[in-house]
Structure formats: structure tokens, C-alpha cells
Symmetry: C2
Subunit: 186 residues, 2 copies
DNA sequence: CGAGGCATGTAATACGTTACATGATTTC
DNA sequence: GAAATCATGTAACGTATTACATGCCTCG
């Protein structure tokens, strides 16, 4: 019973809670996010879907369109929903990458509002810890190569921005607890 | 002849160009960078070193310290240096993650100054492209979930910061072409 | 004397990428 | 008519994670 990270499978489930779609569609969504979630190839996408099928997390409907290549539309089952909920409810590990966080962000609609806020707080704590650790490393008076100094500076710049962003969103969320249009201002 | 990314092996080689060290030491360096380069476990570190040994990229010296556990100090060979140079000279792929970039940054000392600037420019171009792609996605008037809007906003915030950071460093590098203390001003 | 750090390793497993394979349709 | 897009899939390969296994030293 290994505590798997296995994000792709769960991510697919998350997308399917919002809408039934084909493997190809899923890839389009992923692509539209650019780098953010990586560019999973079909070689990982289709096997993931097949695995989900076997586990009973999804069902297929073949959409045979005369003339055009037929599509396989995957829909999530109740079991799939439950699996997904269990996954998303558990806190992200302390070393979660930005990518893992973004994936959860994209599926934020599947959180309760409170769940979303919890996720954001957890991320905040982790980024803050990362920041502190970088600062600590930077403060050491070891000889350090130019590259290492650059990398530390880079990491701190990004982490600082992320903290500010998180605070910003958390503020908006607590100020306008009913609005869904948190990101509308620009 | 697959164009491998195989970063860990090359990254180890890069570290060894700066100093001979043991597997444990390498892990310490990695740890000191926090998230930036991930936390490769020994399960990947040691096999990587063994593989490098077989390929003749490194040599070992056993440092038997009476009383204490003996350490295996790895040193890079000429062949290893060459392998590393070839790797680092080739441009990063268009989908290189921040992690891949940071790894190259840390090894920046192994670039010529011109090489470093080239790397930074390449990264700049890629981040700019990513940024543009996110903006394009954001501009589409599709219905979009809260999560997707949040993720796009997040990605843009980070990408924008990264662009600014890159410009900043590139400026300093071109203004003070001889100084190594580019990151000294905090 | 127990916890945690130092120091090395192996084996099972699962995961993703790359390349390969197919075939129809739309666009230039 | 060639190239790109839609649409699905398989197989080989390499790689990382996890868990396991060992042993000594130091600090509290």
C-alpha cells in the first residue's frame, strides 16, 4: 500500500470530474497550460486511461462519427470520484514540486472552498520553509561557486514571488468569501 | 542515439569538475539547494555513480578512515570532462523545466562566460515563449474553471518574475564583463 | 542506551519518454 | 499531392522512488 504520488492518473480523474473527454482532449487541456503541468505523451496518457478502466475508475463510450476517426469518451465513475477525493484530501508532501501544486490548483473546483484555502496554506508553509532553507544556505560563509550563488538567488526570487502570490490570493479569498471571480482583476 | 536528458549523471559529472567528492557529499550539496534540484535518493545516486564508473567517466579512491565508515571519493576523468562538456554545450530543449535550468546554472562555472550568457538567453527565450502561450490561453474566451484561472495566473506570475530576474542578471553580466561578483548586491 | 547522522549499497516496482505503427481528414 | 491535425495504440528502454539491509559513531 505505498503512498503513491502517481499524479497523472489522479489528475485525469480530476479532469473527468469536470467533464467527460477523450484521451486526445485531455492532452489538449494539458497543452493549453504550457509548461505548467508538463507535456505527457500518449505513451503515458493512454496506458493511464487503460489502467483506470481496469480499476473501474472510469468508463468508456465510443463515439463513432461516420467519416471521422472515432473517439473514446471517458467518464468518471462513483468509485473514481471517491478515489480522487481521497487523493486530493490528503496533504501534499513537503517536497511537492510546483508542478504538483499547479495540478491541484487546476482541480481546485473539486475542493470545497475551505479545502482550497487549506491547500493554499499548506503550499504557503512549504514555500516559506524552502525560502528559509535557501536563505540559510546563502548565509553560510562557505566558498560558493558563481553558479551556486546564481541558483540560490534565482530560487529565492521565485519563492518570494510565489509567497506574495499566495498571500494575495488568500487575502482575496477571505475578503470575498462568496465570489468566484478571484482572479478577475487582471 | 536518443537525445537523452539524463540530467542526474551529467549533473554529478558537473559537480565533480569542481571537486572530488563522495556519493554522500553529493547528496549534501543537493540538499543544500532545497527544492531546486530535487532530492535524489541514494537509490538513484549510487547506481548513477556505478554507471559512471563503468563508462570510465569517473574513478574512485577509497578513503579508509580508521574508526569511521570509509568513504568512496569519486574523481572525474578526462573522458568524463569531455562527456560533460558535450552535454552542457548543447542547447536545452524547448520544454526544459526550471529544475533542468537550475542544474545548469549551478554548473555555470563550467561555462565560458559567453556560454553562460548563451544559456541565460536561451532560457529567456523559452520563458518568454511560455509566457506568451499562457497569455494566449488566458485570452481565449472559453469557459474556464476557477482552478484553471488560478493556475494560469500563478504561472504568469512566476514566469514574469523569472523574465525580470534573467534580464537583471544579463544586464549585470554585460555591464561588468570581468566581475565574478554578479550576485553580491544581495 | 536510543536516536539520529554518517556511509554504502540492492531489489522491486512503477513511471514516463521515445520511437514505432496505423489510418482518415483537412489545409495549403 | 504533401503536410499537419485528429485519433488511437504498443514496445523498448531508461530512470527514479521506495523499501530493505548493514554497520559504526556521536550526542544527549
Amino acid at each position: 500500500m505505498p503512498a503513491r504520488s502517481v499524479s497523472l492518473r489522479h489528475f485525469i480523474l480530476g479532469l473527468l470530474t469536470q467533464q467527460s473527454m477523450s484521451g486526445y482532449d485531455i492532452r489538449q487541456v494539458l497543452r493549453s497550460m504550457g509548461w505548467l503541468v508538463g507535456n505527457p505523451s500518449f505513451g503515458s496518457l493512454y496506458p493511464a486511461l487503460h489502467a483506470l478502466l481496469e480499476d473501474g475508475g472510469v468508463t468508456v463510450d465510443v463515439d463513432a462519427r461516420p467519416g471521422k476517426p472515432s473517439r473514446k469518451i471517458y467518464s468518471i465513475t462513483d468509485a473514481g470520484r471517491q478515489t480522487f477525493q481521497e487523493w486530493i484530501d490528503q496533504p501534499v508532501g513537503p517536497y511537492a514540486s510546483a508542478r504538483a501544486f499547479v495540478m491541484r490548483l487546476i482541480l481546485a473546483d473539486n475542493f470545497s472552498r475551505a479545502g482550497l484555502i487549506t491547500q493554499l496554506h499548506q503550499r504557503r508553509a512549504q514555500v516559506a520553509a524552502h525560502c528559509a532553507s535557501l536563505n540559510q544556505t546563502a548565509a553560510q560563509e562557505d566558498e560558493r561557486s558563481l553558479g551556486q550563488r546564481l541558483a540560490l538567488d534565482y530560487g529565492l526570487a521565485l519563492a518570494t514571488t510565489e509567497l506574495a502570490w499566495l498571500d494575495n490570493i488568500l487575502n482575496r479569498l477571505s475578503q470575498q468569501p462568496q465570489s468566484m471571480e478571484v482572479v478577475q482583476g487582471n
